[in-house]
């Protein structure tokens, strides 16, 4: 909760929309703040910022410091000269979007089924969607080795048909999709639950087809929530390590995604190379954060009253 001066860019239309909750909430906050003595406030703020500095800021700064320590020219050369590194960037840019696309379609379908209909086992389904979050990525990778490995369930059949899943791009996509499965669905379910089916029912009664309802009514309502889910899903997909570590076989220049290539370079004592590639991943993470802040702003601007009580993530203020 900052003074209104700090958030004008987020709430340009504040009087109509954001004004609803603001006045009632601001006065108690102001009172509360006066309750902690100054020294407590200063000490706690210093401690918190100290923790944040040691845990987050120093590591991020040091990535770029290490990557750029020999100058920009060397940095660029380290990054682009190694064909394996170049390949890892391309591979990540292939695998992550494919995994995101799968989970995007799944997320929309699951959210539609769960929030628009009542059926037996609905709660169980919601829990099942969460399962990948609580399975260790290494175990996730192992599951696919069990299914598709030579000694595994489908291994002999795949081999007989000249197919291979492990150590190939489809295997990487599969493992990444599993690990990032809940992101879009988890984001959409509370959003669609909060919006309710009224507008869609109205469209239906006016004779809209299923497709028209989705594209003209549902999608415009959920677009920011959807984008938010995609951003989180993509960040995790690009950074996934444990699961792809197990299914990839780690063949440099073939099945090493960017995070795997970082580990490869690190193990070869190629610290400059590892940090150069790590700096690219860090930049992607920073871009993710910026996009996230932007989308959160748009989401609230679109419907401040709708999402307020439901979003589990933090609020902007």
């Amino acid at each position: 909760m900052t003074t209104p001066a700090a958030i004008p860019d987020l709430l340009p239309t504040a009087p109509g929309a954001g004004g609803a909750g603001a006045p009632t909430r601001q006065s108690p906050i102001a009172n509360r703040k006066s309750q902690d003595p100054l020294w407590v406030r200063v000490t706690l703020t210093a401690l918190a910022l100290g923790c944040m500095t040691v845990l987050v800021i120093v590591p991020v700064v040091s990535v770029f410091y290490e990557a750029l320590s020999d100058g920009l020219g060397t940095y660029w050369k380290t990054l682009t000269a190694d064909p394996d590194t170049r390949h890892s960037v391309l591979l990540t840019l292939t695998v992550a979007p494919l995994a995101v696309l799968c989970n995007l379609v799944f997320g929309v379908a699951a959210a539609w089924a769960i929030t628009r209909f009542r059926f037996r086992g609905r709660t169980l389904l919601v829990t099942l969607i969460d399962v990948p979050f609580s399975v260790s990525p290494v175990v996730a990778g192992l599951m696919f080795v069990i299914l598709f490995g030579l000694q595994g369930f489908f291994g002999p059949w795949l081999r007989a048909n000249g197919l291979q899943v492990l150590f190939t791009v489809p295997g990487l996509v599969l493992a990444t999709t599993f690990v990032t499965l809940p992101f879009v669905a988890r984001e959409l379910i509370p959003v669609m639950e909060a919006i309710g089916p009224d507008e869609e029912l109205a469209a239906l009664s006016l004779g809209a087809s299923g497709r028209q309802i989705f594209w003209r009514v549902t999608l415009p309502n959920i677009k920011w929530g959807l984008l938010y889910g995609i951003i989180l899903c993509n960040a995790r997909a690009m950074g996934e390590f444990g699961a792809v570590y197990v299914v990839s076989g780690r063949v440099a220049g073939e099945t090493c995604t960017m995070p795997l290539q970082v580990e490869m370079l690190f193990n070869e004592f190629n610290t400059p190379g590892a940090f150069a590639l790590a700096s690219v991943l860090t930049m992607l993470a920073v871009v993710t954060l910026l996009l996230k802040v932007w989308v959160e702003g748009r989401k609230k601007q679109d419907s401040p009253q709708r999402h307020e009580s439901h979003t589990k993530e933090h609020k902007e203020e």
């Binding site: 009172n31 590591p59 379908a109 260790s136 175990v139 192992l142 069990i146 989705f214 970082v262």
Partner: protein, 275 residues
Amino acid sequence: MAQANTRVLPGYRLSISFTLVYLSVLVIIPLGACVITAAQLSWDQFRAAVWTERARAAYALTFGAALLAAAISAVVGLLVAWVLVRYEFPGKRVFDALVDLPFALPTAVAGLVFSNLYVANGWLGQFLVPLGIEGSYSRLAIVLVLVFIGFPFVVRTLQPVLEALDAEAEEAAALLGASRWQTFRRVILPALMPGLLTGFALAFARGLGEYGSVVFVSGNMPLKTEIAAFLIVSRLEEGRPNSYREATAIATVLLVASFLMLIVINRLEARSRRG
């Protein structure tokens, strides 16, 4: 929730069947295959696989480090959430956004950086190593990197709770003569407890399975700094006829642990929603 009890809207069959097929292919069948494979071992083989000295050391380290890191995360997360919600300071919005960085940063990068910061000539290691604090290639290193990964869970679960806290209860406590500290302990902390526990449980669950960052910082020495996930990978890579079944057996132990955590988290979340 006066929702469509009758299935008026279109797409029920399509969306539910797609959801079920997708979840079956990606979640249920792979999990089932894992359990079936572990079950192919006889009880003695299973016990021999999951209860070696090396495996026991790995479980103890995995659970211990995740537990300790989650506890530290709870304290740090409470502190950061409190300051971000209650106080004003320059750059607050930047700090708020930075809390999410550990979510967005690939764990391999976190591992690489942390392993480099705490070595004897690293930025932080140069001060800590002379004091005997080995923050690299040690158990402490694992805890440190797990705190980095875990504390945002606590901040993000507590922030909404702190914002929604009823100011009147605090004011009433103050009016009745409670000191600020008493108000915190007796009024604020109990209200935060469910959220704090949920954040703790989320951080703990994440720490149990974490691999990418730990593999860089710990040194992975059997019996000393080897976590359960690393043991699974090394068993898998041994390539003996039965070694992948043994890996699966250890994985099953981890799976059971994480499902227990999932149940606990669901209970906690349900309770904090009601409270």
